[in-house]
């Protein structure tokens, strides 16, 4: 009984994050079945969409380490994403033949995943070591520059990367073993050397990888390093005087954030089987940053929720908005509006041109209504409500282990 009472007192009711995690995991696990049942005709399409969403969630979780936990504004995060993707393109395709190496390289996906994390983290350190002494705005500008340089290098180093054409026909990742069953339309069996091709397989693997990543980042957040990040974010001088090596602490944040981005990049490249410098522009960096800020900087479930919302708006809602508008106008009997006349291009095209205005409006309104983010961390919430809740106590995160 007391255990139940204890759970009720310290459990979900006190900690909205627990509820958020449960909801996210249940929804994520049930989504394929849901799509199968309710949208069977287009379920493959939707699984692809949600699989891609996972890449952005991964990116947002990584950027959250840099921006949310360590408080370093990184405007060039997509650079590490590009580095991860190109690492896979170079190490796992026939492309090597047309480079000065004249030799195709086919390293297995899972090994490249680790290599890409390492490569991206190294670039994070190379960029961070000279620049992390800079504060706030200056660091943001330097990372912005880095974010611009990296895709340009991939574009211009055409001998190695085929320039603007990108690298295509990348290797299909495979798993040593996989369970097949009725859910993918096959008889029940354990297959060996399974090629990851079906959107369902990508989705499931992404889902598992995401859970792993969340656990790791959560561990970090509640560790010696996580505390040091928070301290450096709040007061660098005090942190240093208390024995925290601030430069190393920030470098760790940068490198770990970059490793996540490299990881996501490899996954993205493998799934798309194509990399092109166009995919890693400034808008990608900004989109991820928006996900982190709008979701709730520093809080992992918040950041995941933010990514889901922003991804859905950009990649699902906005592209369909013109069709929705056309349908709506027709259903209320104003089909005249769908015709173009003079400067007016018809409702569909008209809305299509307004897409990013709508997106901007959604962002502005959300941030006005919930400046702390959708699911904020308690810390951030406090910072924004300075002086409002004077006596707030917080739940001890180690109470469960004590």
């Amino acid at each position: 009984m007391s255990a139940i009472r204890q759970f009720w007192r310290t459990g979900p009711r006190r900690d909205p994050n627990t509820i958020a995690y449960i909801v996210l995991i249940v929804c994520g696990a049930l989504l394929p079945a849901f799509l199968q049942v309710f949208l069977s005709g287009t379920s493959t399409f939707w699984l692809t969409v949600f699989g891609d969403m996972g890449v952005y969630i991964l990116l947002a979780i990584g950027l959250n380490v840099v921006v949310g936990l360590a408080g370093l504004l990184d405007l060039g995060y997509a650079a590490f994403f590009a580095i991860g993707a190109y690492t896979y393109a170079m190490l796992a395709s026939e492309h090597g033949v047309v480079t000065p190496l004249h030799q195709a390289i086919h390293v297995p996906f899972w090994i490249v995943l680790l290599v890409a994390m390492f490569v991206a983290a190294s670039f994070g350190v190379i960029l961070g070591a000279p620049t992390l002494r800079l504060r706030g705005d200056y660091l943001a500008i330097v990372t912005l520059g880095f974010g611009e340089i990296v895709p340009r290098v991939f574009k211009n180093a055409a001998v190695w990367t085929s320039g603007a054409n990108g690298v295509s026909a990348l290797d299909i990742p495979s798993l040593p073993a996989w369970i097949q069953g009725p859910w993918s339309g096959d008889p029940f069996a354990i297959v060996q050397d399974f090629k990851i091709l079906a959107p369902l397989a990508y989705y499931v693997i992404m889902f598992i990888l995401l859970i792993l990543c969340v656990i790791l980042v959560r561990n970090l957040h509640r560790s010696r390093l996580g505390r040091a990040w928070m301290a450096v974010r709040e007061d660098e001088v005090a942190a240093a005087a208390m024995g925290v090596n601030t430069v190393a602490t920030k470098l760790y944040a940068f490198a770990i954030g970059a490793a996540f981005s490299g990881f996501a990049g490899t996954y993205y490249a493998a799934k798309l089987s194509l990399v092109s410098p166009e995919n890693f522009g400034f808008s990608v960096s900004i989109t991820i940053l928006v996900m982190v800020v709008l979701g709730g900087m520093g809080n992992i479930p918040g950041v995941i929720t933010g990514s889901i919302v922003i991804y859905s708006v950009i990649f699902i809602l906005l592209p369909q908005l013109p069709d929705y508008a056309t349908g709506l106008v027709q259903s209320v009997g104003l089909s005249g509006l769908t015709q173009s006349s003079g400067d007016y291009p018809g409702i569909g095209e008209f809305i299509s041109r307004l897409k990013f205005l709508v997106f901007g409006l959604i962002l502005v309104v959300t941030m006005l209504l919930r400046p702390q983010g959708l699911l904020p961390s308690r810390q951030r919430e406090q910072e924004l409500t300075k002086g409002v809740h004077e006596d707030t106590t917080i739940v001890d995160v180690t109470a469960e282990t004590a």
């Binding site: 561990n219 970090l220 010696r224 505390r227 942190a239 240093a240 005087a241 024995g243 004077e390 282990t401």
Partner: protein, 263 residues
Amino acid sequence: MPASRGREPADVVLRVDHVTKRFGGLVAVDDVSFDVRRGEIFALIGPNGAGKTTLFNGITGIFPPTSGSVVFQEREITGAKPHQVAALGIARTFQNIRLFEYMSALDNVRLGQHCRMHAKLWDSLFKTPAERREEQEVTERAMELLKFVDIERYTHTYARNLPYGSQRRLEIARALATRPSLLLLDEPAAGFTPQEKVELMGLVHKIVENGITIFLIEHDMRVVMGVCDRIVVLDHGEKIAEGTPEQVRSDQRVIEAYLGKQH
């Protein structure tokens, strides 16, 4: 075991040797030398702008001195980084409290133990048994320290929501968490009522009894007279007197420079 008082002058914890700090044309600290001995309560006093905090910043590596040297336990620490100084065993508090406002009191003290912890990235990522054990120990020690400075009722409160006096005490607990052998307190009693000052001095004695040398800056001369073993007086960046409270109190230059206007 209480640290013995009045040891031989040879037992020097901190030697400040001809330290000068210039900011452009301004000489904030001018050729100051003194020794802090093990186990004593040593005070640095002087009027506003005398260079007391600048000297603290010079010792702790926040603004390294322009010339001269600082030797801590026979190690040269001039120009060392603040985190290195902390790891060697010098902890400090700040004149204008610098707590991590949006971390709980407990987390502030746990952070203080950062440089005494061994968990590597790998341990933190995978919550290895060693890491869990260390976190447990760090938490227990943090609770002890909060109790030691008598603010354990605020364990889970954000630092910024603590009452003023408790914030000063939390800063001391956080500094003690780094396991220092020398504790620098920058005006620990600033803004305190006489009653609070008495309580704070009690705490200072408790810390010294644990074998930690105290080096404090104080603005109010009456406070230091009662508790300190030796005092250095700074005025306009220069050392004008050094000695026991009695010696300093009767020093003509101190009376002129520091107390002059009262007479």
